[in-house]
């Protein structure tokens, strides 16, 4: 396959970026999208001697496991997070999804909460901060009950697992016109709210995580569900509904408790 690539190049966080066009030929339809970029980078290294303009240096992009589970890769390809296929990460996207002679536009995730580091690389530490705000059960190592002493309804375990399948790639944010992180946050809130282990702190958790999400500059949800559609793990939008419910319950209960403490 012969392809034209329009790739976003940006030297670093401080400089302005631009689209740069590259040509590449002889790509096998069986190779993955990232392997196609590897070949392009190899060509750039081979053909250019120093000193070179940074646009002729290899393109930087995040990737690691290349089997769709680490969540590190994420490119905005032809206007879609992770490109033109369903339930897939960029590393699992294969070139057979394109046609010979195609022009492919490749951008980084675009969101205020994910600032660009270089080229196609963004800083997603905002997601870590949201988890740090409460995406856990407060237990220390050791001194916990026997695993089978906690009974969990099979269906709840399955739903919790559906939510827990989130890989934290950020496609939901990239897909959303508001750059909302609701699907990501609700996946963790749901997982733990569905399980007895997490239920104990569910009210505090949802409030802390939502507050942090808002503070970090993610937008609001306007129920278009592009996030669900583009999610490589098909995390369901019902998690967002569950989080909203949890949030409302948390709000009302906290108010009641406050009232009780005040002795009214």
């Amino acid at each position: 396959m012969d392809l034209t690539l329009k790739i976003w190049r940006q030297k670093n966080a401080k400089t302005k970026g631009e689209f740069v066009t590259y040509q590449i030929s002889g790509i096998s339809p069986d190779c993955s999208f990232l392997e196609m970029l590897d070949q392009m980078n190899e060509k750039l290294i081979r053909e250019n001697d120093e000193p070179v303009d940074f646009r002729k240096c290899p393109v930087s992009f995040d990737h690691d496991c290349r089997e769709g589970i680490c969540g590190m890769c994420g490119l905005f390809i032809n206007g879609r997070p992770h490109g033109p296929d369903e339930a897939i990460t960029t590393c699992q996207l294969h070139m057979r999804k394109f046609k010979d002679g195609d022009t492919i536009v490749i951008e980084p995730w675009r969101s205020r909460a994910f600032p660009i580091i270089k080229d196609l690389l963004v800083d997603r530490s905002a997601f870590d901060k949201i988890i740090q705000a409460g995406g856990y059960v407060n237990v220390n190592t050791g001194g916990v009950p026997d695993a089978n002493s906690i009974l969990i309804k099979k269906n709840n375990a399955e739903l919790a697992m559906d939510a827990a399948a989130c890989i934290g790639c950020g496609a939901c944010v990239a897909a959303c016109a508001n750059a909302s992180a609701m699907l990501f946050v609700s996946a963790k809130v749901s997982q733990l709210a569905l399980l007895p282990q997490g239920k104990v702190e569910s009210k505090e958790r949802v409030q802390k995580m939502v507050r942090t999400m808002d503070k970090l500059g993610f937008g609001n949800c306007s129920n278009t569900y592009a996030c669900e559609f583009e999610c490589p793990k098909s995390v369901n939008r019902s998690n967002i509904a569950r989080m909203n419910l949890e949030f409302i319950i948390a709000k009302t209960c906290t108010e009641k408790e406050t009232v009780r403490i005040a002795g009214v």
Binding site: S28, E35, H63, D64, E67, C70, N148, A165
Partner: protein
């Protein structure tokens, strides 16, 4: 140099760990606050250790090369985690898990460590459930189990085909909780370049900030490595692209012994290689062997027609199929350990019965689908079938999958004593990067068990034994001569790499190295080939340092620099892998010396001469490493030939 002291406690093996815990030294809470611990790597071992140590009150600094600790490659483990819970009432026990692991490792692991691993396995499951890990459940709400290779009981706990992900996210959540509390400081996008020794003790590390290119120095009273295995020495492996051996290799060069480097695991069920541009191989969980049957055509001409696409697998009648694992190993069938399954696949393909490119065998679910229905198979392995289809563009439910062995895991690693301390005082190695528990072959679902055992339940006890003696050591500033020297060396290496200005990219060298290793030190090894590799690798090293081309600056995000440093280390490490393979003139586990096999083609161990851990000591740039032997004592288990027939 130092005598190898494994510090194995005295007394009967089953009582060692309880006795150890009852008598080991402790550090009081006020003193813990004054002690800093560096943890490198955020996989199961690193994250669980960092979280647990911080909960105890130590100050922890944790480092990873990825953007987030949640990316570590433990996340890719699919099938499950073993524990001796015996929830299935099928005869399991701590003792049986211990025996299976020793036997599975072909009697090349230390009894004391393996017993401890089996003993703490149950606590791991309890811990993970308490964290909210969504393990698979029965309708009654209890935990479900599945069976795995090398065992006749069902002791594997799982979360669909994403067990590693769920366990890692559990450890990551525990870690995040400590980061929020300020007891752990996270340093992401950092590559460890060296370990700093002060008066012979590990006191810090040198890292490269991957965003700015700056070389940074960090102090710790102790340094813990949880940096994973070195399978990427083979270029194509199931490891992540960034998985690397540089931290352990740098530790080795600073005096930590490297044990059994030739013990590498080739996993039997991976998606076959399909092109030169390929950057990695994808594993299909071993759990598939529970319901999938492995076969090749019985007739050579059928195999050839399959390769030429003139014949489809489904068209071959039952009587013309060779279910070679069931034929050769009737007792364990498709569930033989990984090394056995891999070699059997290679044997069939070498004999001309391979399908696909010639280097593939069938993994067939037709019988299970007939027996259990497609829905059940989908519920068990749905994500794996989906992954297979995305990569290969074929539907595994309708026609058999094609699989072939690939480099997956490394049993060898940094030598550690019972405390998980390396031969450098104050330097620890956990999880896959140490050599400790899997002998010459790791059983499925045991890597997750070991990573979490080391991090949650072993190191938090054993590190106190060392740190109790360090409570008077004040924090050492990082501008001392030792730190500055290590910093200078790290900077020089980066500059040296950049200054070569040759013609070939890092990847080209990495692929060349991989070809040498797979050819001469892969599933089958022999003296001639290993000697050949010992000639080729130094040549490649020379070529690398003369002809590397490294574009881009050193003071910016530049993955070519990261890769160059890693490949430079892989080349050196590969030489040690081969040297160790040459030294070990026996076949055991993943190390199959073609000269040493029975008439039936099974591995022939030599307990008289090789029942030892080969621990290599670095002796300088141009000197041969020195071999130290730790004799393995078997008090509980009698050495026997592994038999899965």
């Amino acid at each position: 140099m130092t005598q190898l002291n494994s510090k194995v406690p005295t007394g009967p093996v089953p009582l060692m760990w309880s006795n150890y815990k009852a008598t080991c030294k402790l550090v009081n809470p006020a003193n813990k606050r004054k002690l800093d611990i560096i943890v490198v790597g955020t996989g199961l071992a690193g994250a669980s250790a960092a979280a647990s140590l911080a909960e105890l009150g130590y100050n922890v600094k944790i480092f990873c090369y990825q953007d987030s600790p949640r990316r570590a490659h433990s996340i890719a483990a699919q099938g499950g985690i073993n524990a001796a819970k015996n929830y299935q009432n099928d005869g399991d026990s701590v003792y049986r898990l211990f025996v299976d692991t020793i036997k599975g490792g072909d009697y090349r692991a230390r009894e004391s460590n393996v017993y401890r691993l089996a003993e703490v396995s149950n606590a791991i499951i309890d811990q993970c459930v308490a964290q909210g890990v969504p393990f698979a459940r029965e309708y009654g709400g209890l935990l479900d189990n599945r069976s795995f290779g090398g065992a006749q009981v069902s002791r594997t706990f799982y979360a669909r085909g994403q067990t590693g992900q769920q366990l890692l996210l559990g450890a990551y959540s525990a870690l995040s909780r400590q980061i929020a509390k300020g007891t752990v400081t996270l340093y992401n996008r950092r590559d460890m370049l060296d370990v700093v020794l002060v008066d012979g003790k590990a006191r810090g590390i040198i890292v490269r900030n991957l965003i700015t290119g700056e070389i940074e120095k960090y102090f710790g009273h102790a340094v813990v490595l949880g940096t994973g295995g070195y399978g990427n020495a083979y270029y194509l492996s199931t490891n992540a692209m960034g998985s690397n051996a540089s931290p352990i290799w740098k530790a080795y060069k600073k005096g930590a012994f490297f044990a059994n480097p030739c013990f590498t695991q080739i996993h039997p069920t991976c998606i076959p290689v399909h092109g030169d541009y390929q950057s990695k191989l994808t594993l299909m969980s071993e759990s598939l062997r529970n319901d999938g049957r492995i076969w090749v055509p019985k007739k050579l001409e059928d195999a050839e027609k399959c390769r030429n696409k003139q014949l489809k697998a489904n068209d071959i009648p039952e009587e013309d199929r060779d279910y070679y694992l069931e034929r050769r190993y009737p007792a364990f069938g498709n569930l033989v350990p990984r090394d056995v399954a891999s070699r059997a696949a290679k044997e069939r393909c070498d004999a001309g019965y391979g399908v696909g490119s010639g280097f593939a065998v069938y993994l067939d679910f037709a019988d299970s689908i007939k027996r259990l229905g497609r829905e059940t198979i989908e519920a068990r392995y749905g994500n794996l079938f989906q992954m297979y289809e995305k990569i290969v563009n074929e539907n595994g439910y309708e026609s058999p999958m094609m699989i072939y062995p690939a480099v997956h895991y490394t049993m060898g690693g940094i030598w550690v004593d019972y405390n998980l301390m390396t031969s450098i005082p104050g330097l620890y190695a956990l999880g896959e990067c140490n050599f400790s528990d899997h002998g010459a072959n790791r059983l499925g679902a045991s890597a997750l068990m070991q990573g979490l055992a080391d991090g949650y339940f072993v190191l938090p006890y054993t590190i106190a034994d060392y740190l109790a003696g360090e409570i008077h050591t004040k924090r050492i500033p990082t501008d001392t001569a030792e730190f500055n020297e290590a910093e200078k060396n790290a900077k020089n290496t980066v500059e040296k790499l950049k200054a070569i200005k040759g013609k070939q990219s890092v990847d080209v060298f990495h692929k060349k190295l991989g070809k040498i290793m797979w050819e001469y030190c892969g599933m089958g090894r022999n003296e001639e080939g290993l000697k050949k590799a010992l000639e080729l690798i130094p040549q490649l090293k020379k070529e690398f340092w003369q002809d590397l081309k490294l574009p881009g600056g050193t003071d910016e995000f530049n993955p070519e620099i990261e890769k160059a440093g890693r490949v430079a280390d892989f080349i050196e490490l590969s030489e040690l892998i081969v040297r160790d393979g040459l030294n070990r003139r026996e076949s055991c586990g993943g190390h199959f010396r073609e000269e040493m096999q029975t008439e039936e083609g099974e591995a022939k161990r030599d307990d008289e001469n090789f029942a030892y851990v080969a621990a290599w000591e670095y002796k300088g740039e141009n000197a041969e490493p020195e071999l130290h032997k730790e004799q393995l004592e078997f008090k509980e288990i009698k050495l026997a030939t592994r038999n899965y027939k």
